[in-house]
């Protein structure tokens, strides 16, 4: 049975850390203000707005120590990763999850944070939140429905999302635990201790800035490692800023994916609002959902 961390109460504290890439503190200020306006207290870790001068928000040891402290801090009820980038894979095997196992809390983020979602789902059977991070609150984002879906998720309100149909959708209904995240990271974790099982589950995938041939290669990897054949359902999110080679691949990203999954009977939807663009609903990884891919719309309901 999956463990669901306690939902937040007014006055609870949310911790903000950067376990991967660097983020200046002012880039997270709107996020901090907004979380406070939602009624939460905010505690920031030393990796947010650190004095790091390179790609990372700190050395591996600094990022590990900051994340570990916030995991172990009883007063912190949820952990928002301020941004992704790259870096969780470098520390994941050194994180001590003993206190987290006893008192799980929501871990929030996406992109590189997929490593954390997959790891705690696969190793500790605990739910987490694939959701907008600090940057999404900027430039008026704090009031859009995607950021607000994070608020609703934290409050424990059950989500019901809808989106438009797509010509490649495969209609039907599926019920299962929701797993997934960033395609590059899901592929990168295959064979490791953080690898996820997908059988009987609803898998969602999104990516950004990849070459089309590489999307094709990663879907072949998922398929060849048995991750696609026994799904309950498949949710294809946004694939933003895709790149193409000098000699074009000759298919759109959607066509590439469709070609590889059209043989399956389970419901499949395309262009679901989970992505590196603004359209990015909060999704509870590990929690049971019903996916209904219909003639007129797509509904994903907790």
């Amino acid at each position: 049975m999956i463990k669901i961390p306690p939902y937040l109460q007014p006055g609870d504290t949310i911790g903000i850390v950067c376990p991967a890439g660097y983020m200046a503190r002012e880039r997270a200020q709107t996020c901090i203000d907004t979380l406070q306006s939602w009624g939460y207290q905010v505690k920031t870790g030393s990796t947010l707005g650190s004095d790091s001068t390179n790609y990372f928000s700190g050395t591996d040891d600094e990022r590990l120590r900051d994340l570990q402290q916030i995991i172990d801090d009883d007063s912190v009820k949820a952990i928002l990763c301020a941004r992704g980038g790259y870096g969780v894979s470098r520390i994941i095997d050194r994180i001590d999850f003993r206190s987290f196992k006893k008192a799980p809390k929501w871990i929030i983020g996406f992109s590189d944070i997929t490593v954390l979602h997959s790891h705690i789902y696969s190793r500790y059977k605990t739910a987490s939140l694939h959701a907008p991070m600090a940057g999404a609150f900027n430039d008026g984002g704090a009031t859009n429905e995607y950021v607000l879906s994070l608020k609703q998720a934290l409050e424990g309100r059950k989500a019901r999302y809808t989106c438009d149909t797509h010509e490649f959708n495969n209609r039907g209904e599926a019920v299962g635990d929701l797993v997934g995240g960033n395609l590059s990271l899901i592929a990168h974790l295959i064979g490791s201790d953080s690898d996820i099982k997908t059988r009987g589950r609803i898998l969602f995938l999104e990516d950004v800035g990849e070459y089309r041939y590489n999307i094709d290669r990663m879907f072949h990897q998922l398929k060849r490692s048995g991750k696609l054949e026994k799904l309950a359902g498949l949710i294809i999110g946004g694939f933003s800023d895709m790149k193409d080679t000098e000699r074009p691949f000759g298919e759109s990203t959607e066509e590439i994916i469709y070609d590889l999954v059209k043989e399956y009977d389970y419901p499949i939807c395309f262009n679901f609002p989970v992505s590196h663009a603004k359209e990015n609903y909060a999704l509870k990884v590990g929690v049971g959902y019903k996916l209904k891919v219909g003639k007129l719309k797509v509904v994903l309901e907790e």
Binding site: G21, T53, N54, Y55, F56, Y86, S89, R90, D93, A187, H188, L189, I190, G191, S192, D193, S194, D195, K197, R199, Y213, D216, R217, M218, H220, Q221, R224, S225, G226, K227, E229, K230, T245, R247, P248, F249, G250, E251
Partner: protein
């Protein structure tokens, strides 16, 4: 098996356990590759070599230097019908490329198959190929980069040796004007194909880890190796000398790929590690990774004691020598340099 090898294979087996239930659940059976490599017959003058495009496309004119050179070795060349075919980036559709390679695998008149170039596409057809005739009558498959899929697949499933080397697109247009390194690397393909005992040297590097190791060679393009993880073509590395190379990747991506090798247990049981050329895509401004390839590699293997060498002449570069995947070699890394020598079976 000595104690060190025994221990490392036990550790590797333990680490790879989490993969197995998922694989079993998916109905995929991971085959344990045979202990002794199957070595295809070496070539002799008068034999026929086939040229095919399992991945990217190439024009017939672009393989003329390769044809002429290989004919000068006394070989007959059979040009497959995917040469000159084009489906966007591919050398024909998946079916065309599968059929062409399948025919060459099955044709008893063809003794070796050279892939005209890499690019991307071998993984799209590897599961469509029928290797049953090839497995009983093996022949040399030649190429690198995307062709790593075939090397890894053949080794994993059939224990058949193959040649990791330059392909048709790397033969110099004018042999007489070619630089010595071009001549030498192209002739290394001939040596490998005709059964000479292979020997390589590399310059010493301050980052090398000294020692001697013996094991079967396995490896190729790092990105391709990562993309095979969990699949029926997944590379087996225990007790082997692993070689890796890559091109056009960001340092962070190289780091992430080495973590995949490390975390999937592919680095713990090696007998040795050979790091070839890594052409780096420069960091984006403000996104400086702050670590070199040497840092990245040494960090992942600091818990193990096997020899390691850097800047070995294999990769997307001029000094890219033919290596026989699956065949036992001895690696000797010392302060005066590096030697890799084929061990005759």
């Amino acid at each position: 098996m000595n104690r060190k090898n025994f221990l490392s294979s036990v550790i590797t087996a333990g680490l790879s356990l989490p993969v197995l239930p998922g694989m079993a659940a998916a109905g995929k059976k991971l085959i344990d590759e045979p202990q002794d490599p199957i070595i295809p017959p070496y070539l002799k003058a008068g034999d026929t070599i086939g040229i095919t495009c399992p991945a990217g496309y190439i024009m017939l004119a672009d393989i003329q230097p390769a044809i002429q050179q290989m004919e000068s070795w006394g070989l007959k060349v059979r040009v497959g019908d995917t040469v000159g075919k084009r489906d966007f980036s591919f050398g024909g559709g998946d079916d065309d490329r599968t059929r062409d390679l399948q025919q060459m695998l099955d044709d008893p008149g063809i003794k070796a198959i050279m892939c005209a170039r890499g690019g991307y596409g071998a993984v799209r057809l590897v599961d469509k190929l029928n290797f049953s005739r090839f497995a009983t009558h093996p022949k040399w498959v030649i190429g690198f980069s995307d062709i790593t899929v075939l090397h890894s697949h053949l080794s994993r499933n059939y224990g058949i040796a193959s040649i990791h080397s330059k392909m048709c697109n790397s033969f110099p247009d004018d042999w007489n004007k070619a630089e010595p390194v071009q001549v030498e690397t192209i002739l290394s393909i001939k040596k490998a194909l005709f059964g000479e005992t292979m020997q390589y040297t590399a310059m010493p590097s301050a980052f090398n880890r000294s020692g001697k190791a013996t094991g079967r060679l396995a490896g190729g393009n790092l990105k391709t190796i990562e993309s095979l993880s969990g699949s029926a073509s997944d590379i087996r590395t225990e007790n082997k000398i692993l070689f890796v190379e890559d091109t056009g990747e960001y340092l962070y991506s190289i780091d992430r790929m080495f973590w995949n090798l490390q975390r999937s247990g592919k680095l713990s049981g090696l007998s040795g590690l050979i790091v070839g050329g890594f052409k780096i895509k420069p960091d984006d401004p403000g996104e400086e990774f702050g670590r070199t390839v040497q840092d990245i590699v040494l960090e992942k293997i600091k818990g193990y004691s096997y020899p390691v060498c850097f800047d070995f002449p294999v990769g997307h570069q001029r000094n890219n020598f033919a290596l026989k995947c699956g065949i036992r070699h001895q690696l000797s890394v010392g302060s005066d340099g590096v030697q890799l020598t084929e061990v005759r079976h």
